[in-house]
């Protein structure tokens, strides 16, 4: 799309194969690319290998007893395969985990502080706080509140804000729409688009294809650990397969195709 600033690739996944417990093959030869400054969506049903892909990129596969058997993950010139999570965060790749996983017993401010732990540069940290407060004014208002008391949508905002505290160049989002009301999902889509406009590349893993294809430039469809479809997000949204499986359409109603949700003011978040 328009805001792709260079022809460079930030993330390259090459013929990746991942197994759990030495037996269960979760990802079977996946290759994909995230161009610099782009939003890339990964669609797929439960068990398609979406979360495994993200765990591999973010270095948390080990915590789930998973192993990379073959292939590689590169971030620019840096090989991320089998690096630990801390190194990957410092390199500039940060994941927002599925189900938000905010620290409910910590305050909102402490959550953001925890998010900035991988960011040693004080100047960058101050900039990150300003950016997060700007994107989500509600997080400034609730700074001293226990994070567990926030609403679901606010918790997702906090989870995204927490990840932005590390000043990532590539943001990984694992099902940010999970368990949220349709109106809130639309807002998440806007936030993702805004974060991307500010210069952060995004890899968005979603079951909610409407939202994902609305904000993404490119998309990949995963099916049982393999890429079954890939291409321009808008073109992909037109295909019969995606219409049928992920957009819930019968395939003969192209005028209903999902478009990018109309941009509403982000100030809604103050409500």
């Amino acid at each position: 799309m328009l805001h792709i600033t260079s022809g460079r690739t930030v993330l390259t996944v090459d013929s990746l194969q991942v197994t759990y417990g030495g037996a269960v093959e979760a990802v079977r030869g996946v290759s994909m690319e995230v161009p610099d400054g782009a939003v890339v969506a990964v669609l797929g049903s439960n068990g398609a290998g979406k979360s495994t892909l993200l765990r591999t990129i973010s270095g948390t596969l080990r915590l789930h007893k998973g192993r990379v058997d073959a292939g590689s993950v590169r971030f620019g010139d840096l090989d991320l395969t089998r690096r630990d999570a801390g190194q990957i965060v410092r390199a500039g790749v940060v994941q927002v985990p599925e189900g938000r996983r905010i620290f409910g017993r910590l305050t909102v401010e402490e959550n953001l502080r925890a998010g900035g732990m991988g960011n040693r540069d004080r100047g960058a940290k101050a900039k990150a706080v300003a950016r997060v407060h700007d994107l989500f004014p509600v997080l400034r208002e609730r700074a001293a509140q226990r994070a567990g008391l926030l609403s679901g949508g606010e918790q997702q905002m906090l989870a995204i804000g927490r990840a932005l505290m590390a000043s990532p160049r590539l943001l990984l989002l694992d099902e940010p729409s999970l368990g949220l009301a349709p109106r809130v999902i639309g807002q998440i889509g806007e936030v993702v688009a805004e974060i991307n406009r500010q210069g952060t590349a995004v890899l968005l893993v979603e079951q909610n294809a409407t939202m994902a294809l609305g904000v993404a430039d490119r998309a990949y469809v995963l099916d049982v650990g393999k890429v079954s479809l890939s291409g321009d997000a808008r073109e992909l949204a037109q295909t019969d397969e995606v219409q049928r499986l992920y957009l819930g359409h019968t395939g003969d109603a192209p005028e209903q195709r999902t478009d990018r949700a109309p941009l509403r003011s982000l100030s809604r978040w103050t409500a």
């Binding site: 940060v94 905010i102 620290f103 502080r113």
Partner: protein, 296 residues
């Protein structure tokens, strides 16, 4: 009344020492998800080192070395054993720490022998009277030092980066890892802090009215376990309250043992465990513990 106040004051000072030990126990549990039974022998190691080196180095340097040795021993246990067994069942880890404890304790007892090693505290074993209430100088200083350390600990736990990282990774290890928080480092630091607190506690535990360092110091240290458990294993505030409660209970039970003689002599020594059992019967996860965490 004077007797009651005197026992209360002595109980609080003893409790403050227990609280130091219990705090270490709790942060190790929070950071490494291990119920560490090595704490008793680490404490004895600190006491032994201080006693051994006091003559040659002088008291203060000996204390510093003792604290250092204990902290280093703690981090070695963490790095070479606990960290390598990350992800092992909680029960296995607990048993492993018992094994380490027995090895360390056996060696220390062999070193100490049948003697009681004297620690030449610069403050004597004299009693001080505060408005008719008597307390040993050692216990009075212990109360002050423990108070300062406990406050410093809680301030650091609440406001420092280490505190935030520690609480974050205790709540959700994977999410913390995704934020770039290095759990290994958080855990190692928790063991160091616990080691330091145990060594300071040791310094005062072997002073008046206790005669000095002997294998018996180990059993005294063990009373910090019920303190940590009745406060709630994952609660730092609980460790403080638990420590004080155990200290006061022990002092009272010992002080009123004539009135309690129907329970047999030396009831003071078992009273902490009785209190722990009663508290746990009413509140199975301790006074301030989180239910999910203490169920493991």
């Amino acid at each position: 009344m004077t007797q009651f106040l005197s026992l209360l004051l002595n109980g609080i000072s003893l409790g403050a020492i227990y609280a130091l030990i219990a705090l270490g126990f709790v942060i190790i549990f929070k950071a490494s998800e291990v119920v560490s039974f090595t704490h008793g022998s680490l404490l004895l190691l600190g006491a032994y080192t201080i006693a051994r080196l006091s003559d040659s180095l002088g008291f203060l340097p000996a204390v510093l070395v003792g604290v250092l040795v204990t902290a280093v021993a703690a981090i070695l246990v963490e790095r070479f054993i606990i960290n390598r067994l990350r992800g092992a069942p909680v029960i296995s880890l607990a048993i492993v720490t018992i094994g380490v404890d027995i090895i360390l304790l056996t060696e220390l007892i062999r070193q100490i022998g049948p003697d009681i090693l004297n620690v030449p505290h610069p403050w004597g074993g004299d009693s001080v009277r505060i408005g008719g209430v008597g307390i040993s100088e050692n216990r009075l200083i212990a109360m002050g030092v423990a108070g300062v350390l406990i406050i410093a600990f809680f301030v650091a736990f609440k406001y420092s980066s280490w505190g935030v990282a520690m609480r974050a990774s205790a709540e959700d290890g994977e999410a913390a890892a995704l934020m770039g928080i290095r759990q290994g480092r958080v855990s190692a630091l928790a063991w160091v802090v616990a080691g330091v607190l145990a060594a300071v506690a040791a310094l005062f535990l072997v002073g008046a009215p206790t005669p000095g360092v002997s294998a018996a110091a180990y059993t005294v240290a063990l009373r910090a376990f019920p303190a940590a458990i009745l406060g709630g294993l994952d609660s730092t505030g609980g460790a403080l309250v638990g420590g004080l409660l155990i200290g006061i209970t022990e002092a009272m039970a010992a002080g009123y043992q004539d009135q309690l003689s129907f329970l047999g002599r030396g009831f003071g020594e078992v009273a902490p465990y009785v209190v722990m059992i009663i508290v746990l019967l009413v509140r199975p996860s301790g006074l301030f513990g989180t239910k999910e965490l203490t169920r493991v």
